[in-house]
Amino acid sequence: MPTRTVAGTTVEVNDEGFFVDPAQWTEAMAPELAAEEGIAALTDDHWTVIRFMRSEYAEKGTGPTVRVLGKTSGVPVKELYQLFPKGPAKIAARVAGIPKPRGCL
């Protein structure tokens, strides 16, 4: 399993760059991970989504898809794409240090 350094800490990631162990993630790592996805500054709305991703993962063992995010995170789909233009569920999962959500919807 490849490793990388985020915010000065070595973490395990998979081939696509998603965290293997979400417990290795800290909030201090989010800005650096976000910057790699072209997100220069994390707003409160970004954090709402990031925390929602983590709580869903903790509860269900898998991150939410875009449709689930749109229905349950309190952030509408249009806005989700403004926050994470390259795919809200996928990019937010990367920034939130959880595995990539699986699901066709």
Binding site: T65, V77, P85, G87, P88, K90, C104, L105
Partner: protein, 174 residues
């Protein structure tokens, strides 16, 4: 260049090791059929592409236009005749009400899986930033104007304009 090199989509990196193929960055999806099984696959491919951050244009033509027709999009039906996948004898499928029953059964399963209805799905896909278009010729044939189509349809375009829009990406015909 060896023969093997010409038959691969991957390009070796500087060290000579094969790298990953280029990711897909844009798709244009044509939906040409107006049955339940004709409409959903294209919609799922569209929303799935947007989830991956892939640019998407959806182009509705022929009976596929029903999926974006104000009055018809809520009434997309499963085809029970001439559809071997239904595992139903053609004469049975042709009985009155059979399509409604099959549609109802399928919709129940789809609701259980949280698959949205066609109008809700179109709205969702539009909200993800996909472009949604109607086909000019098909609209002319059926006598539809943009007013007949749901608000998410951005424009009615010709096939030539579709190709211009699809430039630089993949085209998927359903």
């Amino acid at each position: 260049m060896t023969d093997a090199d010409t038959h691969t989509d991957t390009h070796p990196d500087a060290a000579g090791a094969p790298s990953r193929p280029e990711p897909i960055t844009k798709v244009s999806i044509v939906i040409s059929k107006g049955s339940l099984d004709g409409v959903y696959p294209g919609l799922i491919m569209a929303s799935g592409a947007r989830a991956e951050g892939i640019e998407v244009n959806l182009f509705f033509t022929f009976f596929g236009l029903d999926a974006v027709h104000r009055k018809r999009s809520e009434h997309i039906k499963a085809a029970t005749v001439g559809n071997p996948g239904m595992h139903m004898a053609t004469v049975v499928g042709a009985l009155p009400g059979m399509s409604a029953i099959a549609t109802h059964m399928m919709e129940k399963k789809m609701t259980a899986l949280d698959i949205p209805s066609v109008p809700e799905f179109i709205e969702f896909i539009s909200d993800t930033g996909a472009g949604i278009y109607g086909c000019q010729l098909a609209c002319d044939m059926f006598g539809f104007t943009q007013d007949d189509l749901v608000d998410q349809v951005q424009d009615i375009i010709t096939v030539g304009e579709f190709y211009e829009m699809a430039a630089g990406g993949e085209i998927i015909f359903t």
